[in-house]
Amino acid sequence: MIKWLGAALGAALILAIMLLLQTPAEFDWSLPEDYPLPLIPADNPMSAAKVQLGRMLFYDTRLSGNETMSCATCHIQALAFTDGKPRSLGSTGATHPRGSMSLVNTAYASRLTWANPLLDKLEDQALTPLFGDNPVEMGLGGHEQRAAELLRSESSYSQLVGKAFPNDADPHSIINAVRAIAAFVRSIVSYDSAYDRYLSGDTTAMTSAAVRGMDLFFSERLECFHCHGGFNFTDSTTHANSRVDTIGFHNTGLYNVDENGAYPEANTGLYDMTGEPRDMGRFKAPTLRNIAVTAPYMHDGSLATLDAVIAHYQRGGRLIEAGGDAGDGRLSPFKSEFVGGFELTVSEKADLIAFLQSLTDQTVLTDSRWSDPSQ
């Protein structure tokens, strides 16, 4: 009797150990203690193997129709995963109406891309650059099987894919390729800027100019923090302990082409998604982390420098004097109440720029966890 019980217990123990081995280890985010954990979709848990698989796919040009571009073509690590262009170019030469957004801290984004209230998961968002045809970005439409074939036939992928998706009978699918890329992109988190080190007690981490700029940034006079607030410097932020998703879209008075607040037809922002007149020109406030390396600025790259961006907000809207987009954005009826304009001296402007530069995180721009694995 006792012998049987011992055998049963032993079997149960072996089973439990097997189950434990099957369960992927908790993903190591390496976040500072006071940083919140990102919210992860239940059907795509993080694992080191999946992130590694996603990293390889992210840098693989075979995920574009003509094999000329990868995700990394428009999302370059040294530029905080932007591309330095006003508006991005697709694999077949089409110009996107908007600029490439930084992928840093998208794990914390409550909504993705510039102005889409529907997109809350990277797994859904990734399908547009892969398959979109207006404009063509990676142009994978018509090659739907290629990702699955890569995962199955290429040895560097086939070794990882089973570890990344241990519960799938056949893990070789475009859905899993997209999940792996999403997991890799989620892993790109920034927490090691001079500002972060200053907050954690290293008072020498920021220059005195940057500290003065920080006070200006968080002042009611400049109002920057209303939209670019919180640890991620955007009001469209969520995380594992969020009680509510905050989602913000704002018209900053960048355009007013018809004196009724219209934006250029190809770039009307939230209005294009909802058709609601009040949504004209409303875009998401992007994170300001690493903002100093992501020029040019705004959704269409129409402001070349941080100096120009601050001048735009200082005036309370942009004046375009001539051309098809002429108009005074300051007078737009749709402009955010926080873009009222402000006085700013030349030295204060330099301080504010010094603060924005203190948000640059050299770790996220250089760390091999996020670099091209073939280099």
Binding site: D124, E265, T268, Y271, D272, M273
Partner: protein, 255 residues
């Protein structure tokens, strides 16, 4: 003597064994001002024409509406929606596919029908499911709008020596999130209704000269800000901003 109760039952069984349904085929053809056009040609060329058909119905003399059944062939149509593909990837159809499909295969209860109706579009229930795990014909990535959620109900385009235009039609103004859409303010499904003489030789002409009567030089992706959408939307019986219409003029039964 006992009534042989099984005799009426037997009669009913015999009647129900007779074919109570008629199979029929609805064929589509692209036209320009009444003349057939294709991706290749000397004057006006097709650059794209693909669309989803659903809610195929027949209307009899009493005004009763009978749902026709789509035959699920596992490739071009399931029991709710069929994909029509009238471009063959040749000539001006540069982003097209070589495979084509010009017809819907359906069955309907026997009857005397006066009108036929169908919808160009994917039913709401199927429109916002995950396209990456959808079965044919909803597995065509080229026909999906990942960023708006939902399928492109219609791709259409032309070019000639004078002008060119293309449009993608689908639901806009959707609310919720991509995998959980609650409703779309502009559903943009096109309802077509044509008079009928019989279920034989049914062919619908799609006149792109009507769809794109004045459209020129630009394109329409169904966005509310796209002024170039107003004319084609009106031709499809759809509302776009201040342009209101309720009857489409593009699809017509050919004699």
């Amino acid at each position: 003597m006992r009534t042989p109760y099984f005799i009426p039952l037997l009669l009913i069984l015999l009647v129900s064994c007779a074919p109570a349904k008629t199979p029929f085929t609805l064929t589509f053809a692209p036209h320009w001002d009444g003349n057939a056009i294709e991706c290749t040609g000397d004057s006006t060329q097709l650059t794209d024409l693909r669309f989803y058909v659903s809610a195929l119905q027949l209307i009899d003399s009493d005004g009763s509406v009978i749902d026709a059944e789509l035959e699920n062939d596992g490739e071009w149509q399931n029991s709710d929606v069929a994909l029509i593909d009238l471009e063959d990837g040749r000539g001006a159809c540069v982003n097209g596919s070589t495979a084509t499909r010009a017809f819907v295969q359906a069955t309907a209860a026997n009857g005397e029908y006066l009108r036929l109706a169908f919808t160009v579009g994917v039913p709401f229930e199927q429109n916002h499911a995950n396209p990456m795990s959808a079965a044919a014909p909803l597995d065509d990535a080229a026909m999906h709008w990942h960023w708006r959620s939902g399928y492109k109900f219609l791709h259409a385009g032309f070019r000639n020596a004078d002008r060119s235009f293309w449009m993608h039609l689908g639901s806009t103004g959707c609310e919720g999130t991509v995998q959980n859409i609650s409703m779309c303010n502009a559903a943009n499904r096109v309802v077509v209704e044509v008079p009928l003489e019989s279920l034989k030789n049914l062919e619908i002409g799609i006149d792109l000269a009507r769809l794109f009567a004045t459209a020129d030089g630009s394109d329409c992706s169904s966005g509310p800000a796209e002024s170039a959408c107003a004319q084609p939307f009106k031709a499809l019986g759809l509302t776009h901003q201040d342009s209101v219409s309720d009857v489409q003029t593009v699809f017509a039964l050919l004699p």
